[in-house]
Amino acid sequence: MTDEGASETEKFVEETSMRYAYAYDKGGKLARYFGVRGIPHSVLIDASGTVAWAGHPGSLEDRHILAATAGALPKPLWEWNGAAKAVKTALLKRDFKTALAQAEKLGEGDNGPEILAAVQGMVKARVETLKAAQAKGDYLAAQTTAAALVKELAGLPEAAEASAIAAAIKADPKALEVIKGQQKLAKIRGRDLTKRKDRVEAIADLRKLRGEYLSTYVEVEADALIAQINAMQDDG
């Protein structure tokens, strides 16, 4: 259990010759988000900011890493200086139109073609993530992602795709009903499940919700969450 301060941590880092970047998840918010219940536990996030894999670090395979690094920027943003700095500034503002325009201005010496391809890949990956969410009936994710992309991709043709998906969801009563179910499910997901009675109650609520939304993505999510809670119970 880690609630030691920086001095103890730095000592540990020095003793173990750990060379990786590290930071503090104060209050355990991120660990809670990922449902970390034991350590070590790893989460692999791909270049589009999507969770690509999670589990014990010993079970991480090369194929997971290869898939997650597809379309990744050739170097981290903090190394983007000189001519590439304008691309970096635009990316940090999530202004992809400006980022692409600035990347197009870069020459070979500034890794221009590589950076341009990477930014194009980021745009493509975001749109594909949105389409995938819509295709599997995850309308809540699709609605949220579409709203973000309409802003982030403003001025690019892909913004129209995001806008069209947002409009299609808004005009679809069934999709809107599924979103209501997903919002109810999100509230259950956020509960504190330390006590057994809370877990039993959560499962009952999920089963009820599942029954109301059969053959929708709510059913899929409810099943996954019930399985997670049952695993908690197995742990005692």
Binding site: M1, T2, E10, F12, V13, M18, R19, Y20, A21, Y22, A23, Y24, D25, K26, G28, K29, L30, A31, R32, Y33, F34, G35, V36, R37, G38, I39, P40, H41, S42, L44, I45, D46, A47, G49, T50, V51, A52, A54, P57, L60, I65, A68, T69, A72, L73, P76, L77, W78, E79, L91, A118, T145, I188, R189, R191, L193, T194, A224, L225, M232
Partner: protein
């Protein structure tokens, strides 16, 4: 030489209160991590566009 395209990042923190996890395929929320060390990154946003491996760990 091409730089590595993924960055292992270790995150220290208290083990979370039992809760339901966000799974594979979910978007990572705005991440608030403090005191980045052994990296020029100042925030998680600086890793945007890169693949990141986060390892939760504690020591005792």
């Amino acid at each position: 030489m091409r730089a590595k395209t993924w960055i292992p990042a270790l995150v220290l923190g208290l083990l979370a209160t039992p809760a339901l996890a966000q799974g594979v395929g979910s978007k990572v929320p705005a991440v608030e991590l403090a005191d980045f060390t052994q990296t020029p990154a100042k925030s998680f946003e600086d890793f945007q566009g890169r693949a990141v491996l986060i390892e939760f760990f504690a020591f005792w």
